[in-house]
């Protein structure tokens, strides 16, 4: 295992940010930590990155503890923090050269990375003049400079538009194909986790709720289909029914959903709720269950809340 974390705890005053989490990542494996804001993802990855110390538990990177091995471990890890600032008035090329000097990487590697992250045309632009997506690609490029064995990315696409997000995914999928680098990625986009990672860990309130491959997670329980519906009129809530306990109504989006375990029985129960409460359907859709649905069914909340 390239990363092993055993029974990790971390608290900040009265807040238990990480509550006895264990995880392990194999060489070449891409793992996503999926969870809403405040789930404890960043605290956990910062402990794996050696930035924070766990209150309890053990972390091994390539079989080594952080203490006494900082220099060696920094050489095999590439990372991007949740918010990263670089020197505004340095160009893309100068910024990469600066970081390359820390790893004793030469200008040829800088040129390779610029090509990899697709910033050839922007290499003479100041960092301050880059778009959000370009800046994120630079952040990723810096993380890749040292041919890392372990890549740790903390929400690398948060705040980016869909195109910019796909650009980052493209680079990471290319990396997956061509190298044996392991990836630990935190995100609250289920699509990102599904697209990039072989293994997904769903976190909330400092604990792991579920983990496994996408297929395993979605097939572990019955109900691989979800009904999503809209109603005529505006509703704060809809009354739950004993016959359909998993029904969920989001008053912000004015959309409801429920897992379909038994087509006949569940639909009957749904129609009964509509009739009892005098509700009229505006739109109804049946789709494959997603990680977001799984998270909602586990916590009663959406991932991006």
């Amino acid at each position: 295992m390239i990363i092993e974390a055993r029974d990790i705890y971390k608290s900040f005053k009265a807040v238990h940010a990480v509550n006895g989490i264990s995880l392990s990542i194999a060489e070449g494996q891409f793992v996503a930590l999926l969870g809403p804001n405040g789930a404890g993802k960043t605290t956990l990855v910062e402990m794996i990155e050696g930035i924070q110390q766990p209150d309890k538990g053990e972390i091994l990177i390539a079989g080594k503890k952080w203490k006494g091995n900082e220099d060696a471990l920094h050489h095999i890890i590439g990372l991007s923090l949740q918010e990263t600032y670089f020197i505004d008035k340095l160009t893309v090329h100068e910024t990469l050269c600066l970081f390359a000097s820390f790893y004793d990487e030469r200008k040829t590697r800088v040129a390779e990375v610029i090509d990899l992250i697709g910033l050839e045309e922007k290499k003479k632009s100041y960092v301050v003049n880059l778009s959000g997506g370009q800046r994120q690609r630079l952040t990723l490029g810096i993380a890749l400079l040292n041919h890392p064995k372990v890549l740790i990315l903390d929400e690398p696409t948060t705040g980016l538009d869909p195109n910019a997000r796909r650009e980052i995914w493209k680079i990471l999928l290319e990396l997956k194909k061509k190298s044996n680098t392991s990836l630990l990625l935190t995100t609250h986009y289920m699509e990102e986790a599904e697209q990039l990672c072989d293994y997904i860990i769903i976190m909330d309130k400092g604990s792991i709720l579920k983990e496994g491959s996408v297929t395993q997670l979605l097939n572990k329980e019955k109900g691989s289909k979800t009904i999503e519906f809209e109603l005529e009129g505006i509703y704060e809530t809809i009354a739950p029914a004993e016959t359909l306990p998993g029904i969920f109504w989001d008053n912000k989006t004015q959309k409801g959903s429920f897992q379909l375990f038994d087509m006949g029985k569940d639909m009957q129960a749904f129609l009964h709720i509509l009739e009892e409460n005098n509700l009229r359907i505006k739109n109804l859709e049946c789709r494959r269950k997603s990680l977001d649905d799984l998270f909602t069914s586990l916590t009663g909340r959406h991932l991006h809340e």
Binding site: D71, T84, Y85, I87, K89, S101, F102
Partner: protein, 379 residues
């Protein structure tokens, strides 16, 4: 880590910080152009003889005092002054000028007023002195703690006490000093160089560190194999280079515009310069060692620089402060540096006079640097 890699890291860090500064026009303006403009403004203001203006309030009795020539003041105003209206403060004055080639001219402006308005004018600093004549006796009202008011009183009372209002300064007793280094600008330029080093080092180093900590740049940097000390050393070296450029340009400007020369030892001056830089770099690292809030950083930097700017004798001699306070002022790093640069510039001092002070500055810097590094928070 091999030596070449260490050197490459340090070189890249220095290059990055230097390029960042050079690409920021505001840094160049405040670091280089502003001190030159300030020296030009102050140098011109204090080296050109200008008329000194003194304003007096004359308390009216019943009628206008000018109409009553039986009084000393009325008689004087009629005989010796000319009436003029100042549009700026919408007031009519009686003006009177004493000419003096050596000391410059003094113009007295008299304004008829009542007690109520006179008090307001005194409070606002419009009048230096208020005069009132009762039963052929002139009284002068002013704040004795105000040196300007005292000087006005001495001059004007001497004048009214003289026979036929003749006041003559004995100019043959006044010998103009023409020794090198005795002008105000000779005093000012070394002080400005010292202050420039302090301001540039304190703001340049402290603010850079605090801002980079607050934006998590330090956190990102120490998540690499970079040698941590190289980051601090590179920020300090770049600031030394900037300080050298700023001080050299200010001196070159003063050399050509004000004919200022370094009379003492240039190597000693370099030693004081390096020691001063070390002192302030150490203090800067210390005060920026822990905080990640730029607002707190502003406050901390100001707490250090403001007292020294005011007290260390940059613009005016600190010998005017109370006697008990002077030995304290003389211990401030800025005072030590300004006094030493000044003594090299205008007194011809060398290593012998400045070595001990340079050592004190260096030790101050090292002690603060060590304490700062001990408590340094990278994130």
């Amino acid at each position: 880590m091999n030596k070449f890699l260490k050197f490459r890291q340090l070189y890249q860090l220095i290059k990055a910080h230097f390029l960042e500064l050079m690409r920021e026009p505001a840094v160049l303006f405040w670091g280089i152009v502003f001190p030159i403009l300030m020296s030009l403004g102050l140098g011109v203001a204090f080296s050109t003889k200008q008329d000194v203006i003194r304003k007096m309030g004359i308390i009216k009795t019943t009628n206008s005092i000018v109409a009553d020539t039986s009084t000393f003041i009325g008689n004087f105003l009629v005989k010796n002054t000319s009436k003029e209206y100042h549009a700026g403060d919408k007031t009519t004055y009686y003006s009177f000028k004493i000419k003096n080639e050596k000391l410059g001219n003094t113009t007295f402006f008299f304004q008829e007023t009542n007690w109520k308005d006179a008090i307001v004018a005194l409070k606002r600093g419009k009048f230096n002195v208020v005069m009132e004549e009762k039963n052929k006796k002139i009284s002068y009202f002013f704040d004795p703690g105000n040196p300007d008011a005292q000087l006005t009183y001495i001059k004007i009372s001497k004048f009214f006490e003289s026979k036929d209002y003749i006041y003559q300064e004995k100019t043959d007793q006044i010998k103009m000093l023409s020794l090198e280094g005795t002008r105000y600008i000779d005093f000012l330029i070394p002080g400005l160089i010292a202050m420039g080093i302090m301001m540039s080092t304190m703001w340049g180093i402290s603010y850079t560190i605090i801002e980079r900590r607050s934006k998590k740049f330090l956190r990102r940097m120490v998540s690499t194999p970079m040698k941590k000390s190289h980051l601090l050393i590179s920020i300090i070296i770049v600031r030394f280079m900037m300080n050298f450029i700023e001080a050299a340009l200010l001196y070159i400007f003063a050399y050509f515009v004000f004919d200022i020369h370094i009379q003492g030892s240039i190597p000693a001056l370099l030693m004081v310069f390096i020691a001063g830089n070390i002192a302030f770099a150490g203090i800067a690292v210390f005060i920026s060692s822990n905080t990640s809030k730029t607002e707190i950083g502003n406050g901390l930097i100001n707490v250090v620089v403001m007292p020294m700017m005011v007290l260390s004798g940059i613009f005016f001699s600190y010998h005017n402060f109370p006697e008990w306070f002077i030995p304290i002022i003389q211990k401030f790093p800025l005072t030590i540096m300004a006094d030493d640069i000044r003594s090299i510039f205008i007194e011809g001092a060398g290593f012998a006079e400045t070595a001990l002070h340079s050592m004190m500055l260096t030790i101050t810097g090292i002690v603060f640097f060590a304490a700062g590094v001990k408590y340094f928070k990278w994130y």
